[in-house]
Assembly symmetry: C2
Homo-oligomer: 347 residues x 2
Amino acid sequence: MLPTRGYAVHSPTDNLAPFDFERRELSPTDVLITIDFCGVCHSDIHQVRGEWGNSIYPMVPGHEIVGRVTAVGAEVTKFKIGDHAGVGVAVDSCRECNNCRADYEQHCEKGSVGTYNSTEMDRVTPTYGGYSSQIVVQEHFALRITETENLAAVAPLLCAGITTYSPLKRFGIKAGQKVGVVGLGGLGHLGVKFAVSMGAQVTVFSTSPAKKDDATRLGAQHFVVSKNADEMTPLASTFDFILDTVSAPHDINVYLNLLRLNGAMVQVGIPEKPMEVAAFSLVVNNRSLAGSGAGGIAETQEMLDYCAEKGIVSDIEIIPMSRIAEAYDRTVKGDVRYRFVIDMSTL
Amino acid sequence: MLPTRGYAVHSPTDNLAPFDFERRELSPTDVLITIDFCGVCHSDIHQVRGEWGNSIYPMVPGHEIVGRVTAVGAEVTKFKIGDHAGVGVAVDSCRECNNCRADYEQHCEKGSVGTYNSTEMDRVTPTYGGYSSQIVVQEHFALRITETENLAAVAPLLCAGITTYSPLKRFGIKAGQKVGVVGLGGLGHLGVKFAVSMGAQVTVFSTSPAKKDDATRLGAQHFVVSKNADEMTPLASTFDFILDTVSAPHDINVYLNLLRLNGAMVQVGIPEKPMEVAAFSLVVNNRSLAGSGAGGIAETQEMLDYCAEKGIVSDIEIIPMSRIAEAYDRTVKGDVRYRFVIDMSTL
């Protein structure tokens, strides 16, 4: 077994603190990744604090992992020692069901294995995430990383990146389409970068007028203060697609009403309480409201390659491990532009 | 002007009673249809009783109209006197906007003209529906009817038919797919007939075990009492598509959870209160919840031609105009298999 240092909580009210545990010895198809950086996802906070009701303790959070391959199993073909590699939200699945074979491992019919706060396919062994020195993972679930100059800024692509890229691709966003992005945070700022890179005309909706300059800098053509009815009303039935990244309580009908014929809105923020959807918000213009859960391994690799080609990375603020509590507080307040990334050399 | 006899209400608490009014003289592109039958749609009741908050009185309801062409304008090419013709939920639109040009007149960007409880494009002249002796309509908005042997049973196709056909076509339902139909009423029983005709494996979900025999007779392979968790649980993530026809309050998450990867549910019942949608119901399997509003003229014609070819009509109970109050009461109670149709010769 491989002695590993991490940061963990032992209860919903605990603070993250050093935690020593063991990673498994490498199987023939495993790789060992020494972790350089790990992004801080809002879902880390929800799960650390037990807010989704599914928390397993002790918990080592983190599923936006980048690092270097430092050992490989005998049958590994995708990586060699010294390669850069990443790990996202899943580390295993059955690999046999319809969804797995269709490259949607995250929707494995038997239940995929989350990178943390989950159990391996044996449904017993807990998984520990990227707030740690190293991780052992099936090579299938490790991603190749070719953009290594700004490695820390690549980390958030493993969750926030694929979560916003996947629905834009699924709904075939293309040049000239009118796309709205609701909320300019960790997810939203990457949603804007992707939609702009696909040639869409992008409008950012935010409750915070202070974010207008950032929206413009990220490439958005329009910025709307969503609480301002005078700005919203003329936009009714004009959008092809809207990506809603807000998890705080908000009226989604306001945004559904902006969709034109056969338009779709995808909700990637996960509000705690059910969303209230008026039937007529969907009936008018044959609108759709869809969900989206991260992306499969093939699509995540496609996204990373796309980002390397287009020069897309996350806007980040690098922190040492010791400042994680402060980073959590500021993330909850939306006071980060736009993702904290932990420098794991500070562990 | 053309003196016309109808049945109308003058307030939300009024009972339908004889009402004399005038139809316009025919323009060069109008046809005059002498009405043989008019279906009783649940939305007639909602609007007569002012339950949608949009009612204009006096109101002559009815938008499932079939009859014979008894006069044509000088430029009419689609009909000649003696042809059978139908009118559905819309009688005009701008004909110029993107949606109209894409054959989605019902979603006209300037607002289509409802067959009743609406105003003409002048936004002043009220429209009166099919509980009447005759109607004058632009030939573009009149439908050709080739199935004339059972004309009364064709009437409900003009609203209930197109409302269920359109989403099944839009989502490309094909042989072997697993389709659920929630609720076995006016909409649901036609949804079952269409899905079965497309080769789908159809499951009917109903709160009423008494409807099992009918579901089987209509061609459904499976029948599930939706309140029975033991029957519902094993069906999680197994359906390609679900058509929800229920407008009474119900938990739609129960049905969303039955959708497999990239599955969609279309809500064609119009619940009065907003539907509560849990984010995870959509995130798991990348599910969609969509709305659908009737269909355009071209698609309605396609549906009527499809029904004539496949021998699909509505199950109906014919009533004289004098029994309309009783028909409303029984429709509200779900006590009709599956659509009341008024014999307009009894007017």
